[in-house]
Symmetry: C2
Subunit: 206 residues, 2 copies
DNA sequence: ACAATTATTGAACGTTGTTTAAAAATAAAG
DNA sequence: CTTTATTTTTAAACAACGTTCAATAATTGT
């Protein structure tokens, strides 16, 4: 067949594939993503994908990782060790939650994936996902600071960080799955979440 | 006359299909479930399934609902309004968590599903999943009791129930996804979860 | 025993992810 | 500029999937 396709650099085509994939995901979710839909969108034949990606999984990983990196980037601006520990925690998680709700598919897919290759980038040790993600480690340090300041009740910072982290995670996932929860109700849920967690965290003066 | 026997036969085959499906799910998860695998297992041709079920989704629903019903049944034995609220909550969630970890695939699929038809059975109102599942409603009542008794700090019981629920949910999902977490570590996580939640819930005497 | 009903099959359709030999397009070499 | 080597792209095929449907086998009612 006579084809007139301009030459594109490898990276450009990779980007085109990813962008087409993102478009499909945005419209139909990862569930609705297929190689053929991607190549139909960029006017290539299906086989082309395997010249630039190992398999479909690698495409999903690329999109999902990029999405989660953006979420992590959104909390990078929060200054460390400059405010009260609870203020810092709240600020981080508020930004985190808002960023997650802006890329719900990516968040869901990233955090519900059991694929270690996806998660390798955020877990520093090999012992387990839950044990040492980036956010988790930072959270543990803040809690430790709170304990040292006498603000928080004595506890294992790492364990406590895990619990707070899974709690926030559970809320976000539920909000995403539920869908269509009004902004105002989300605000209330988040407010109550922090109220409960901090009340539980704060040292008691009896 | 032979209608009854025929009915039994029908139910039997339905059960055979479901059992075969359960076997596949147990070995490869819902992801690995296929109509052809089911019928290969019971030595039928693929089409047979559509005489007994609308589609694959209905099979998944059946298995998942049954699984979640078992989880709910496991907490039914906990007496209501007979112990301290926090004792009741802890007991319910401990049983709930253990039952969930015994049927992880079912738990995951049930609670991460956005399909309202699956969730219809446990959500009493149409307004939203998170708002009134069975466990959630009961939890709200216990919290209210705790508040009325002056044990818990004043709060919106329903909102607080949602937060506690999503927190526990997050922990369970993470444990399931992580996989292979030693029993002892799970115990510690659960212990810390309740410590934090109850500390946050308890009224402060200052 | 015959007719009516129901259970089951086998083949087909349109998907999907992925592989592979061939073809087309580009780069390198003479 | 032509020829060769290399890289990019395609078309076709494979196996597996969910699902449908006409045809057949089995069972029931009369």
């Amino acid at each position: 067949m006579g084809r007139k396709r301009q030459f594109l650099k490898q990276e450009e085509i990779k980007a085109n594939i990813l962008n087409a994939a993102r478009k499909v995901v945005a419209e139909e979710g990862f569930q609705g993503l297929s190689i053929r839909k991607i190549t139909r969108l960029i006017d290539y034949s299906p086989g082309i994908v395997y010249h630039y990606f190992r398999d479909k999984e690698e495409i999903i990983e690329a999109i999902v990782n990029e999405g989660y990196e953006r979420i992590l980037a959104s909390i990078a601006s929060v200054p460390r060790n400059e405010t009260q520990p609870e203020t810092e925690i709240k600020e981080v998680f508020t930004k985190y939650l808002k960023a997650a709700l802006k890329a719900p598919e990516e968040y869901k897919t990233f955090l519900l994936s059991e694929n270690p290759s996806i998660l390798a980038k955020t877990s520093l040790l090999t012992k387990g996902i839950m044990q040492r993600s980036r956010t988790l480690q930072a959270l543990g340090e803040v809690i430790q600071r709170g304990v040292e300041l006498g603000k928080f009740t004595p506890c294992d910072p790492e364990l406590t960080a895990q619990i707070i982290w899974t709690s926030v995670f559970g809320l976000i996932i539920k909000i995403i799955i539920e869908g269509n929860i009004p902004e105002e109700q989300i605000e209330r849920l988040v407010e109550q979440e922090f109220k409960l967690l901090f009340n539980g965290l704060l040292a008691r003066k009896e």
